[in-house]
């Protein structure tokens, strides 16, 4: 039980946010209207992605010193899981943008930088495919992963603040804090973030276990 409680918690929270996010009341605002509910489904994707990529960097650093195959597998599988969340974040953002900004992709700085930071991790996966020797691959890809991480932080958190963006919370636009006067949205938003992070972590552990069984079979 002490190993499964967080999986149950994550599932319950995600089911709760799916129901409460669609049914509970939200502030009535022009332009945004009901699309403000996307906050519960779009923003947690990015938080989960950041958490998974941070896990990946942690295991990359660890694998450089320990040189163990397990750490390398953990690093690559958390990137694989993180990319799924990054793509989901881009898709949910694009759908929201269609109904509020008028276009799926309007080349807003926030959209562009998010896309580039996903590209960064595709480059990481391609780098892995380019090297055949396992230990060399683990070492070189770990180095690239650590080298790229500060750039991703700059891309996602620093640059959008310097540019004019339509994205809520950037370029002088109000974030959700200013709409959520009676804290109704916080009741759903915070559980949603925690729930999706837990689910993301679960996806990563499943992927890692599958991958380690595969490599074990190959060695035998």
């Amino acid at each position: 039980m002490n190993k499964t409680w967080w999986k149950i918690l994550g599932s319950v929270l995600v089911v709760y946010t799916a129901i409460a996010g669609l049914l509970l009341g939200v502030p009535r605002l022009p332009i945004l209207n009901e699309s403000i509910r996307n906050l519960y489904f779009h923003v947690p994707m990015w938080f989960s992605m950041i958490v998974l990529f941070s896990i990946s960097v942690f295991y990359s650093i660890k694998s450089l010193s320990s040189k163990s195959e397990i750490d390398d597998l953990k690093a690559v599988e958390s990137v694989n899981a993180g990319i799924i969340f990054g793509l989901l974040g881009l898709v949910t953002g694009a759908i929201w943008a269609k109904y509020t900004w008028g276009q799926f992709w309007s080349f807003d700085p926030k959209q562009n930088f998010a896309a580039i930071s996903v590209l960064l991790y595709f480059a990481y996966l391609i780098l892995r495919n380019a090297i055949d020797e396992e230990q060399k691959r683990a070492k070189i890809s770990a180095i690239y992963n650590i080298f790229a991480f500060p750039m991703m932080v700059v891309l996602l958190f620093v640059l959008p603040r310097l540019k004019d963006s339509l994205h809520p919370g950037n370029g002088g636009n109000p974030g959700f804090n200013s709409y959520d006067l009676d804290s109704r949205m916080r009741m759903v938003f915070y559980p949603a973030c925690l729930g999706w992070i837990l689910i993301g972590y679960w996806v990563y552990t499943i992927r890692f276990r599958l991958r380690s069984i595969e490599t074990k079979q190959q060695h035998n």
Partner: protein, 221 residues
């Protein structure tokens, strides 16, 4: 102290090697000049200053990727082994980075001169600020591309990997550079550009610091 001595010798070696063959500097110089000339022949005259600025940075980006990627990719395994026996990994990386910065400073200065000569319709009013952007650009391109070329050379799959790995990393830097250069083209006062200059310096310090931390793990096979 030992490190400074090693770095000095290694930079001397790089410059001497380049001076003897003059391959990289002449090659990239010809590349820049012919690219600018091709652009001139196809555009004849640029219609606005945004395009003027963007075109210059695109030319500079490809020129520096060609110039800097040579630093590790062109060395043979024997040469690398030899320098790793003689010097510490930090000294190798620092010397390559400093040498690349020097090379890029020369190249970008000549490129800017030739570019303003050919496309003279939008020469920025604040040429000094534009030159600051160009200098910061050469430094940032050198620091990022030196480390990426070291990674790409170890992966043993030269050119294509270099482009794939370096573009996502250089784009944030390039965006800052273009914004800074645009301030100069628009003739804004210097106060408006301190944010970008500061950010670029921070990014460079970050890049050099992570490179120095990571290179000792990379160089040993």
């Amino acid at each position: 102290m030992q490190l400074a001595k090693e770095v000095k010798y290694l930079i001397h070696k790089e410059v001497l090697l380049e001076w003897r063959s003059k391959y990289t500097i002449n090659g990239v110089l010809l590349y820049v000049v012919s690219t600018i000339f091709t652009c001139y022949l196809s555009f004849v005259s640029l219609s606005d200053k945004l395009a003027w600025n963007a075109l210059f940075w695109i030319i500079l980006l490809f020129a520096s990727i060609n110039g800097v990627s040579k630093s590790f990719l062109q060395e043979t395994k024997g040469q690398q082994l030899y320098s790793y026996i003689l010097a510490s990994p930090a000294a190798v990386l620092i010397s390559k980075t400093v040498y690349n910065i020097l090379l890029m400073l020369v190249l970008t200065t000549i490129a800017l001169g030739f570019y303003t000569l050919v496309f003279d319709s939008f020469t920025p009013p604040d040429l000094l600020l534009y030159y600051v952007a160009v200098v910061l650009g050469s430094i940032s391109f050198s620091t990022v591309f030196t480390m990426v070329s070291a990674i790409a050379s170890k992966a043993g799959n030269g050119g294509m990997l270099m482009a794939i790995l370096s573009f996502p990393i250089i784009i944030p830097v390039l965006i800052l550079l273009i914004k800074l250069a645009k301030n100069a083209v628009d003739g804004l006062p210097w106060e408006n550009s301190y944010d970008e200059i500061g950010m670029l310096l921070v990014v460079n310090v970050l890049t050099v610091a992570t490179s120095l931390l990571l290179f000792p793990y990379l160089w040993r096979d």
